[in-house]
Every structure is written in C-alpha cells, then in structure tokens.
C-alpha cells in the first residue's frame, strides 16, 4: 500500500510529501491553519497559511507572525501535493483543508458545522478518499434545533428580561459564537459587549462581516445608561463581579452542551441555549456521507463510540489522538469521550 497522504505525529497532522503540518500543537516550520481558535492556531510556527478571512483574527491573537493568505477553493502547490481550503461553516474564515497527491484526496475537517448560520461561510462538502473529522458532539443525544428557533427563544428571553427591568447577560465564546448571536438575535435594544468580545467583533466588522452595532461595556456604559440591554460576554464572566455590576441580571449560557440538563444545572444556570458552532449527530453523519469517503479518522470528542458507529456503517474508521479541544471555544466542560 502506498504511503498515506497524511500521518499523525506527536506534533500534529503531518503531510510528508509536502512537509507541512495542519493545526499542529507544537512549533513547526510550516503550519496550515483551519481557523483562529486557540487550540488550532497556536503560537510559535515559522510560517502560517490560512484563509484571507481567517488571518485578521489569527494575527490579532498571535501577534507578529509570518503568515500567508489563501482564497477558498484556490489550489496551492506545496512540494508533492496540492492543498486547497474549503468553507467549514464553523466560524468566520474557518476552513477544511484538502490535500491531494496524485489524485488521492484527504480532507482535514478542522471544526465544522453543517447548518448555515448567516455569518460564517457555509459548509461545503469536499469529495475525498479519507476524511479526518472532529466529533465533539458525536453522540445521538446531540441534535440541534434549527437556528431560527433558538434565536427566537433568545430574543424572547431578552425581551422578557428587559420588560422586568433586568439586564440580560449571555455567555458565549468571544470569537464566533458571540458574533453569530449578535447577528441572529432580534435587536430589541442595545447590545453591550465584554472587552474580549468587542475586540474580535471590531476585527470581523472591519473585514466586512454583517454585524450589528455593539458598545463596549465599561466606564459610562452600563445598565443605567443602557437599560434593558443584552450583554454578550465570555462564559467565564458569568456569575462574576463584572456581571453583577449590571444590577438585576438574568444570565444564560449559549453552548451545545446546554442540550444536557445535568451540565446546565451544574453550572447553576437557570437558562441555557443550545447553540453550537459544531456539527450535531445528524450533521456529522451527513457531512461524512457527503464526502463519499471510505476511510474516516475521528478526532476530539466522543471518538470511541463514534468510530464504532462509523465502522458499523461500513466505513474503515480509526481514531486519531490530537490535542484539539483542550482549551477550545467549546471544550466539553469536563470529560473527553
């Protein structure tokens, strides 16, 4: 059998024929980056390659780096292979990376979501022979409702709080989820942001993503100046002294994990909205089918049961240990698999 197009090393997913890594977790010479979340775009590589859309956030997070941009669908030759980046629908600028060697195509999914969210470039399936898929939510208990329904729930929650004289504080990861929520919610009042959210929002807005006006909360911007506001903040701000400054508040957390009641209750949150930037069970299965692949490698998430499920569906399925998901935008609260 021919050498595999991609191999799995302790530094990350490696392409021997092109001598590059995809989303490596230790410093390497050349890194292809699927998207800007910190468990995928890490510091310390000599050269970076990512989509034009992903680079501004990556540069903001990593500072001075030697980075090159690439357009979606553009073929790029590296050594003995051709690489191309394709929308993953996960967050703005996110990509699946296809690597082709002599007609054999392997695709690294990065993180992905199948349902279009109106902000990230919509997921586009890529035909391939081998697919390396995340499976953060690879159990059949995770099935998302259509985004429009959840956004309507969030809008109702906000309106009810505003009517009761309360500030709504919504916990969401500062890159991707936060912007998707502000873009999707019914704008019944001012949207305030935590500093971490505002920085990323400003970058994406400058890139041309359609985002509503937001105001950074802080000196002179609070519940008094903006009654009935929606405040979008990183999850770590929930229940903090920072959140309490908004006077009477109602806090909620937007995450795929909110589908499980026990996890929501453990966070002592009355309200949780099930919104994820990852594919749900049906999404994972549909995405894998759409690639037409024979081989699947599953990474971070419920890898063991998901691999077994795929094997029972007739795939040649394996597990790849990675260090994705450790400090990700949507880490499983505590357990892996």
């Amino acid at each position: 059998m021919a050498d595999p197009v991609l191999t799995f090393t302790d530094r990350g997913i490696y392409c021997p024929a092109g001598d590059f890594f995809i989303d490596p977790w230790r410093p390497v010479d050349r890194a292809l980056i699927t998207h800007g979340h910190s468990d995928h775009a890490r510091w310390g590589h000599r050269r970076y390659l990512a989509t034009h859309q992903a680079l501004p956030v990556i540069r903001h997070r990593l500072g001075q780096i030697d980075a090159q941009g690439i357009g979606y669908g553009e073929a790029f030759r590296i050594g003995g292979v051709t690489v191309s980046f394709h929308p993953a629908g996960h967050v703005p600028g996110s990509a699946q990376i296809a690597v082709e060697r002599d007609g054999e195509v392997w695709v690294v999914s990065g993180d992905y979501k199948v349902e279009p969210d109106g902000l990230a470039e919509p997921f586009a399936p890529v035909r391939c022979h081998a697919f390396i898929s995340e499976c953060t939510f690879g159990l059949p208990v995770f099935r998302w409702r259509p985004q429009a329904q959840v956004m309507a729930d969030i809008s109702r929650w906000w309106a009810a709080n505003a009517a009761a004289g309360k500030t709504s504080i919504l916990g969401a990861y500062s890159f991707g989820k936060a912007q998707r929520l502000m873009a999707g919610v019914d704008p019944i009042g001012p949207i305030l942001t935590h500093g971490a959210v505002e920085e990323t929002t400003a970058i994406l807005r400058a890139q041309g993503y359609a985002l509503p006006d937001t105001i950074r909360a802080g000196q002179g911007v609070d519940a008094k100046t903006h009654p009935g506001a929606l405040v979008i903040a990183p999850p770590s701000a929930l229940g903090s002294a920072w959140a309490r400054k908004f006077g009477p508040v109602d806090e909620a957390f937007a995450s795929g994990w909110m589908a499980v009641r026990g996890i929501r209750r453990r966070r002592s949150l009355g309200t949780g909205f099930t919104v994820s930037d990852h594919a749900d069970w049906d999404g994972l299965n549909a995405a894998i089918r759409a690639t037409g692949c024979e081989r699947v490698f599953v990474t971070h998430g419920y890898t063991a049961p998901f691999r077994r499920w795929l094997a029972e569906q007739g795939y040649d399925a394996g597990i790849v240990a990675t260090e994705f998901g450790d400090d990700a935008e949507e880490p499983l609260p505590e357990v892996a698999e």
């Binding site: 059949p140 009641r261 453990r266 949150l269 009355g270 609260p333 505590e334 698999e337």
Partner: protein, 532 residues
C-alpha cells in the same frame, strides 16, 4: 401534562427559591385538582408502581431511534439520566397534539400493568410519538421515578400552604404516611386535620442541626439535656386504635422488617407515638450498624438474623400520649411522660429508653462525648429542656454533636461518572491503601469535593485512564485524598476485609505523594480501636 410541563420548565429554569415557590403556589391554585394530587405525590417521593422496566424502555427507545443498544448505553453514560437520554434520542414526534392530563397519563400507565410486552411497547411508543421533548422527559420520569425538580418536600409544603391557607405544619403532617394518590382527593389531602382518622400516619420528624462550635456557645448547661446519638435507623412507632406501625425517617413503612416489635402492639397503650432509634442489640449496648444493615432491604427476616441481631427501639421522645398530640409540650415534660409510660411496661420487651446522660458542665460533657465509640454511639445529642417537638430542621433547640471523624490518606484507583447534576463528571471514586508494594481497594466515596475540584479531576481522568471497564475507568494511582469516615467494621465480603461507615473525601491531598499514603495495617489497627 401541559400545566405540569410548564411547572417543570419554570422550576427548571431558575435556581432561586422565591421563583420556585411562586411557580408552585400558582400551580397549586390553578392546575386540575387530580393533577395537583399527583404532583404532591411525586414531589414527596411517591410514584406509581412501575408498569414498564428500565430495560424495556431502553430497548424500545433505541429501536424507535434506529440505534444499536450499545450506542444508547454510551449516550446514557454521557447524559447520566435515563429519562432524558430517551427524550433526546427519539425522533421528532409525528403527531404532536393536545396531551392528556397528568392524572390521565399516570392512570393510563398504571393500567399497563400486567399487559403483554407488545401491548405495553405499542402504548409507550404511541405516547412518545405525541409528545414534545420536555413532555417526553416528564413522561419518562413518571415511569423511571426519581422525580427531582430541585424542590424539597419542605418547599412544596410551603407552596401548598400558601395556595390553600392551611397551616404548613398541619400540611406537613397530612402529607406523611402511606396515602395513595389514586384514591385521594385534593380537598381531603389539604383539609384541616382532626384528631380522628389519623390511622397509622406518622408525625414529621424533628431534626437536629450539627453543632459546629463547642457547646459553650449554647449558654447554661442546666437548660440542656444530653443523650447518645445512636447509629441505627431513626423510626417512629405508632400505636393507635387498629393501627400498629413503624415508619422510617424516609417515610417508609418498615413494620414487617422487625417482627420482634410485634409484642409491643399488645402492651403499649393506645394512642402512643414514640420517636426513637432502631438498633441491633447486643447484651447491653447496640451492635455495630453493619449488623443492622444485614436486615435492611430484606422483605422477610431469617431466623438466624433475628437471633444474631435482634432489633430494639431506643426511645428518644414521646409525641402522642393517651391519644393526645403532646408535641407542643416542653421536651422535659414529654421525656417525663415517656419515662412513666415505659416504666409501666412489663420487662422483656424490645423497647428501652435512650438514656438521659447526666453531666456536670460542658467540660464534663466533652469528656463523655469522647467515650461515645465505646458506647457504639456516633456522638451526643443536645436538646433544650423547654423545646417543643418541631417540624423538620429548626436551628437552636436540637443539636447533634458528633465525634470527629476518622481519616486515612488513600489513592484513587478507579473513577466513574455520576448521574443527574453530576452527569458527565467523574465523581464516584474507588480508593486504595498500601499493602507492601500492592494497592488494596478498601472504599468508595462520592462526596466532599467542590464542583471545581470534580471538574479538574475529570479532566485528569480523561488523560490518565489506563483501562476501561464499561463506565468505569482504571486510572493512574496518583491522586491522594484524605478519606473521612464515621466507623469501621470487619467485612469478609470486601477484599480489604473492612467496611467503612459514611466514607467521604475530606480533602484532596495535592501535597502528598502516593508512597506516603496509609497502609492496610493502619486500617486494621483502627478496627481494633473500634472494637473497644
């Protein structure tokens, strides 16, 4: 189901007691009366007899979802709640229409008892296909039991009092005992009580608060009475016209488990209710709890156990005397009446007073407390001489002053995820001590750490799993914990030869390396101390 589902959503959507109380009160005023009765029953731990087993539910749900059973089990292990797992994996309902009421739903479920497996399966699938996700979850909970909505019985009683205007203590008493929701009308359940028709209904138990500071904070020792805090089964013995019953604190009728109490029915005066502790009795003191434990959970008691571990009721308090509810009287008065009542009984009955311990002052009492283990007690109880027999836990009048627990340092060797609120979090651990170069498992423990610590350990387990046995992970023996416990007994059933009473994690010893944990020999030494 719709009112009930709305109530559930309201309770589940808040962590604030005030909001829960308001939602419950509104429900008790507006929901259909038969539904109210079932809600009271469910929130006080009564549920209809199971007409479908958990195994059947799993199989039917996995089948309806088109999933292999193993994947259902993996999902259940992650979600940590069977009813919820089923609600999450089922395909979307095809015929969502007006759901039946809670009363109708439960009666329909009860009617399934005794029907063929196929008939029951079809009935359950038909219901699943008509309910939305929250209602499905509730419906499944009706079958599986374990109905916890973050509402204590006390809170439910308070809401019922607010909704009906009936006194809370009266309601608490009315809701005790073995009334059956299917035969009880709401109006009867919340009617003002009269002395007649009590039957075998117990009174709500008065509970003591732990004494954190020394007894010096309690003021004049003269105002207080002391007795041993026994380690048995707290119980209430009822002797009324046509009714003889023993209730556990969990409101379980346990009369039949203790046939040796039967003679008391012949000798206790009518209209007597005693609060006491059921213990296994040796020559002059209780036997270790393990002896009594052998009898718990058995429907019938073999003769051998009756001989080896005869039960005795140690009387703490008298609640009803000559048919009169004397709970409002001062403790000292009740105690005096109880002593007179017991003194009038013939010898040889399995009933005795829990001794009143005389003491000269707080220092004297502290010295007595230190001897509790030799008396097979857990510590002392302190009761204010003037205190009434109150409902539930009320700080100030009754205190439990337990011995400091024993402790050993041990290493975690297995971890398993919890359920419910602890779903998906490793919280159930098995610990080992050293025996030479080996590690011997000797106890499990589930509690004592903070959520943050459990979260950290869970991440650690993810990275340090050596082997998986279904839901159980064998982990690197690296994390050391101080295990606190109340007692230690010999146990041939355990590999280590010992069993602990109330083990829990006192703290995570991050400072302690594995080679400094305690040894099995050290534990066996404690066993000798425990034997006295």
């Amino acid at each position: 189901m719709r009112d009930f589902a709305a109530l559930f959503a309201a309770l589940d959507g808040t962590t604030k007691t005030g909001a829960k109380l308001a939602a419950l009160t509104a429900y008790f005023q507006s929901a259909p009366e038969p539904d109210r009765v079932w809600t009271i029953a469910l929130l006080s731990g009564r549920r209809p007899k199971r007409s479908v087993t958990a195994t059947e539910l799993r199989e039917w749900a996995a089948g309806a979802a088109g999933l292999p059973l193993w994947l259902f089990e993996e999902s259940y292990a992650m979600v940590g709640d069977l009813a919820e797992t089923i609600a999450l994996i089922l395909p979307a309902p095809l015929h969502e229409d007006e759901p039946p009421s809670l009363d109708q739903t439960i009666r329909a479920l009860m009617a399934l008892t005794g029907q063929s497996s196929e008939a029951r399966r079809e009935a359950i699938l038909r219901v699943w296909d008509r309910l939305g996700q929250t209602e499905r979850l509730l419906f499944n909970k009706l079958i599986t039991g374990g109905f916890r909505m973050g509402v204590s019985q006390g809170l439910m009683t308070r809401a019922l009092a607010q909704a009906t205007g009936v006194d809370e203590a009266v309601l608490a008493h009315r809701l005790m005992g073995d009334w059956l929701p299917q035969h009880t009308a709401f109006a009867d359940l919340v009617a003002e009580d009269t002395a007649t028709g009590l039957g075998s209904r117990p009174y709500p138990f008065a509970l003591a608060a732990p004494l954190e500071d020394g007894p010096e904070t309690l003021g004049d020792p003269q105002d207080w009475r002391a007795e041993w805090k026994w380690d048995g089964i707290r119980g209430q013995l009822i002797q009324r016209e046509g009714a003889f019953a023993l209730w556990s604190r969990g409101e379980e009728l346990i009369t039949d488990r203790f046939p040796e109490f039967a003679p008391l029915a012949d000798f206790l005066p009518r209209g007597t209710v005693i609060d006491g502790e059921v213990v296994a009795w040796g020559a002059d003191r209780p036997l270790p709890f393990a002896e009594l434990q052998k009898r718990i959970g058995r429907k019938t008691v073999p003769k051998r156990l009756l001989l080896d571990a005869p039960a005795r009721l140690l009387a703490y308090d008298l609640l009803e005397d000559g048919g009169e509810d004397i709970r409002p009287l001062p403790y000292a008065t009740r105690r005096a009446r109880m002593e007179a009542m017991v003194a009038a009984l013939p010898a040889g009955l399995p009933l005795g007073l829990s001794p009143d311990i005389a003491f000269a002052g707080w220092a004297d009492l502290a010295a007595i407390r230190a001897t509790a283990r030799a008396a097979q007690a857990e510590g002392l109880m302190l009761k204010r001489a003037t205190s009434p027999y109150f409902v539930g836990r009320k700080r100030g009048d009754w205190w439990k002053w337990k011995l400091d627990p024993w402790s050993v340092d041990a290493v975690m060797i297995y971890a398993q995820a919890g359920h419910g609120r602890r779903a998906n979090l490793f919280t159930d651990f098995t610990f080992a001590v050293r025996q030479g170069n080996e590690l011997v498992p000797f106890t499990k423990a589930y509690s004592g750490l903070t959520d943050a610590e459990f979260a950290e350990i869970t991440r650690w387990v993810g990275k340090n799993t050596l082997e998986r046995f279904g839901p159980v992970r064998r982990v690197k023996p690296e994390l050391v914990f101080e295990i606190a416990f109340e007692g230690i007994q010999e146990s041939p059933r355990h590999k280590s030869g010992i069993a602990l009473r109330f083990p829990r994690m006192a703290r995570w010893r991050r400072d302690k390396p594995v080679d400094e944990i305690d040894t099995i020999e050290g534990l066996r030494d404690l066993l000798n101390v425990a034997r006295g």
